[in-house]
């Protein structure tokens, strides 16, 4: 019987004076994970961007539940996207997308 994949959905808040493009954001997240955990560690995260709202500065990421501490440690380490300084915070973590949206009231 195939093993059920356990995932975690992470809502992150992006604080920046400038609007950050979707591809720039995900590139910054990958780059932070790579710098901290290397390619082997990054391959275990199963990271995927689910949702991104540049106007609200809100993004939803999905990862493997085992890799959650890695992602939570990598996200605050992002200090710049391009030339602009940014602060990215983990807002909420949930096991399902539905629960995450309910917690965020969106």
């Amino acid at each position: 019987m195939p093993k059920i994949v356990r995932r975690r959905y992470i809502a992150v808040r992006i604080d920046s004076d400038q609007t950050i493009e979707r591809k720039d954001f995900i590139r910054a997240v990958w780059s932070s994970i790579l710098r901290l955990f290397g390619e082997y560690g990054a391959s275990q995260t199963e990271l995927k961007m689910i949702d991104y709202d540049p106007t609200k500065g809100l993004a939803v990421l999905r990862c493997s539940h085992k890799a959650l501490p890695m992602i939570k440690a990598s996200i605050p380490c992002i200090t710049h996207i391009g030339a602009s300084p940014v602060t990215i915070h983990v807002e909420r973590v949930s096991g399902t997308l539905k629960a995450l949206r309910r917690k965020l009231s969106i």
């Binding site: 440690a73 380490c77 200090t79 300084p85 602060t87 983990v90």
Partner: protein
């Protein structure tokens, strides 16, 4: 005092706007109290100014001083002069003799070490043993983990991991602080707790290191600085007209 505490903010004290910005940011991110590193000269004046800003922003202010003595004698002299004037005394240990003296002196609250010059991080088993007897805490500034890259960050994480193991073995309290001088480098307390994963500090202990451990230091010192404190274990409960006849 409840909630998260950042014991180490280092704003440019010459610019009031900068101080306000960093304290406001800390309040927004969910800190209930902040410790601001004060200079030895104009100590009371600066403390009064920052206390006013903090009370306007509804956040508790903790006065803190960072000593960088060149030798043990200088450390003892500074402690004698400053202990009754500030709530938290941190010693940045630049030599082994200073580190040992700071660890065995009850008047010291926090030991901190250079994030860049790793040969000057003297927190070994002997240091931890001394610190555990005097309840001196070990402080980790989180800002260098954000702005350092490559080899410097790798080596810092390696050192922090070893120091965490030693601190836990000898029951030395760990304090996680931001150590930021600019508001944009400040992160949420939960984010700092997550960064603990990088140097082997589990989430529960990491949260304690930003809440309970600094709270214990501040409450202990506020009790000692209060006019009702006489000596360890002796407090004035009633005075003057409060005393029963």
């Amino acid at each position: 005092m409840k909630g998260f505490i950042d014991l180490h903010l280092r704003p440019n004290l010459e610019e009031r706007v900068e101080i306000e910005r960093i304290i406001k940011r800390a309040a927004e991110l969910g800190y209930r109290a902040v410790g601001v590193s004060l200079p030895q000269e104009k100590l009371q004046e600066r403390a009064r100014e920052i206390r006013k800003i903090c009370s306007d922003l509804d956040i508790d202010f903790i006065s803190r001083i960072d000593l960088e003595p060149r030798n043990s004698l200088e450390l003892l002299r500074s402690l004698r002069f400053l202990r009754r004037r500030v709530e938290v005394i941190a010693v940045k240990c630049l030599s082994k003799s200073v580190a040992r003296q700071a660890a065995k002196d009850r008047r010291v609250d926090i030991l901190s070490f250079s994030p860049i010059d790793l040969r000057r991080r003297f927190f070994d088993s002997a240091e931890a043993e001394l610190a555990s007897k005097t309840q001196v805490s070990l402080e980790f500034d989180m800002a260098p983990l954000l702005y350092l890259h490559g080899n410097q960050r790798i080596n810092l994480l390696w050192k922090m991991r070893i120091e965490t193991i030693i601190a836990r073995k000898f029951d030395v309290p760990i304090v996680l602080s931001s150590g930021v001088s600019e508001a944009w480098l400040l992160r949420k307390p939960e984010d700092y707790a997550s960064l603990g994963y990088l140097f082997g500090l589990d989430l529960e202990n990491a949260k304690k290191a930003i809440s309970e451990n600094p709270k214990k230091i501040v409450e202990r010192n506020r009790r000692k600085l209060s006019p009702n404190y006489v000596a360890p274990g002796i407090y004035v409960i009633r005075r003057g007209k409060d005393c029963p006849k």
